[in-house]
Symmetry: C2
């Protein structure tokens, strides 16, 4: 089993109404793999510059994450700087420096080519396919993308969609990709383009899962102290793929549980800056939040017939 | 049993990306009572002008709704004109004419004073209390309000909150009332002001219920063809109160089921202009959507332990 994730490892500078932190360990592959590391073995394929702090690599190693595919190149690490509005729902990117990430062109190591689970993080769709083509025959391929690729590399993205099993994107991306405002119709259209399962992330409103014959909708786990939403979507994808890889199950019921584990990991992640809270979890905390989640979503069948119904 | 609802009966002119209709039967008390009429007896206390079409009154009567408290006064009926944006999430009020509703000051008829369930629709909080004080001793009192009263009659509104059991408002109202961006903290603050239960409506994202020791969150039932969201929140409140009144149950599990019935009624209401789809339902349709709702929200306990968890 085990997951190979390809994507960004970055240094983030984050400002939220609750404080600000500079050069925090960031990047989609970072959040994804820390979340997934609680469930299964994870190998990162990414690139950093020679300024990447050893302490950050140490944190990832401490979570058992395989960094043999983390290339170090001369130059600076991908840097992102962003600021959140008062309700944390709006985010402004203040600065993006791709640096060594601009020429990222992953060559997989032999042990990585035989991984059973592959997650293609938010990189160019051409690059996503080049990674896919280096793999032997993965059991399940997940994929993320973003508005930039939808707008600028649509044809290439559609080719990538033909190869994958699971697309994990947010609601505005789904609407833009399908060119359809209604989320159900957007989902149906996207499913017709290849993915067997589409998971749409809706931030503080939770997530929807669409399969060929199934719809599953779950709210976000309610968190009272949200300090920094950075990486929530990647933590979600990591928890989800982690659970699937750990169990080897891909049926509808398992995917639903995986979506809930994804939501659980995202809910932990937002409780502190960067991946701080995500990387300091215990197994009982994860299990207990999953169970609390069930209580929050639970309602009975209409056991009591009303006089008229 | 049976519910007394006090609120507006109006003539609405609605423009949505899917068409426009003029002088449709509208108003909070209208949507509320049609939704509730599938569950229990409903009596409306409201006022209309002498221009109110007999056909609209006929529709309400046909749903078994008691109109003995619907006052007809010389003058024009409350009129509202609004337009929805492309994704139906933004609404612009183009015109509001209170007309006879401006001097609405309900005097309850003797049979109405002994109703067990009371819903105080979105009218001024002074007026809400004057209605409450005319009641004998209702078993459960629900209440709605809006930003206008929160901003302009806050002290009076807080007095009303002391009297009620169930407050049903939307998320922006909850945040403004509590002066708190985080919904969980906002809910806790509002509950400390009197209501035993707070239900927060989140439009296409569903609803949350907060009790003293319980949180329940449910998504909206996914509807593919949303034509007109007008009255969705009132249909929600009507379905919810209707179920509670019909069963006489007020425990946590019953309130959860009631929230789901509220969501079911709201989801039917948005499928056509005005109360058209809401008023043409069959009981099997309501029951079957409730059950479909359960399937959409269902996930198992973590039956399968992952290697690490």
């Amino acid at each position: 089993m085990g997951i190979l994730v390809v994507g960004s490892v970055a240094l983030d500078s984050i400002k939220s109404p609750f404080g600000s932190k500079d050069d925090v360990l960031g990047g989609a592959a970072t959040y994804f793999s820390i979340a997934a590391s609680y469930f299964t073995d994870v190998s990162i394929v990414a690139v950093v510059g020679d300024d990447f702090p050893e302490e950050h690599a140490g944190l990832l190693r401490q979570k058992g994450i395989d960094l043999s595919g983390l290339e170090r190149r001369p130059g600076k690490t991908f840097r992102w700087k962003g600021e959140y509005g008062p309700d944390l729902n709006t985010r402004t990117t203040l600065d993006t420096q791709l640096n060594v990430f601009a020429d990222f062109s992953p060559k997989l190591l032999p042990p990585h080519r035989t991984k059973d689970y592959l997650f293609l993080g938010n990189i160019g769709p051409d690059l996503q396919r080049s990674v896919f083509e280096q793999m032997k025959r993965p059991m399940l391929v997940g994929c993320d993308t973003m508005n930039y690729w939808i707008e600028n590399q649509r044809e290439s993205l559609l080719k990538t969609l033909l190869l994958i099993d699971l697309l994990v994107i947010n609601d505005s991306e789904a609407r833009e990709l399908a060119n359809e405002a209604n989320l159900i119709r957007a989902a149906r259209r996207i499913l017709s383009w290849g993915p067997k399962t589409l998971v749409i992330k809706r931030g503080e409103y939770g997530a929807c899962m669409f399969g060929s014959e199934s719809i599953f909708i779950v709210p976000a786990f309610p968190v009272e102290e949200v300090l920094d939403p950075t990486g929530a979507g990647d933590s979600f994808a990591g928890g989800m793929m982690g659970y699937l890889a750990a169990t080897g199950l891909h049926d509808d019921a398992a995917i639903r549980r995986a979506v809930v584990f994804g939501s659980v990991m995202a809910s932990f992640n937002v409780m502190d800056f960067g991946p701080h809270s995500l990387s300091n979890l215990t197994y009982p905390e994860i299990v207990s939040r999953y169970r609390e989640f069930r209580k929050i979503c639970f309602f009975e069948d209409m056991l009591l017939k009303t006089p008229r119904l």
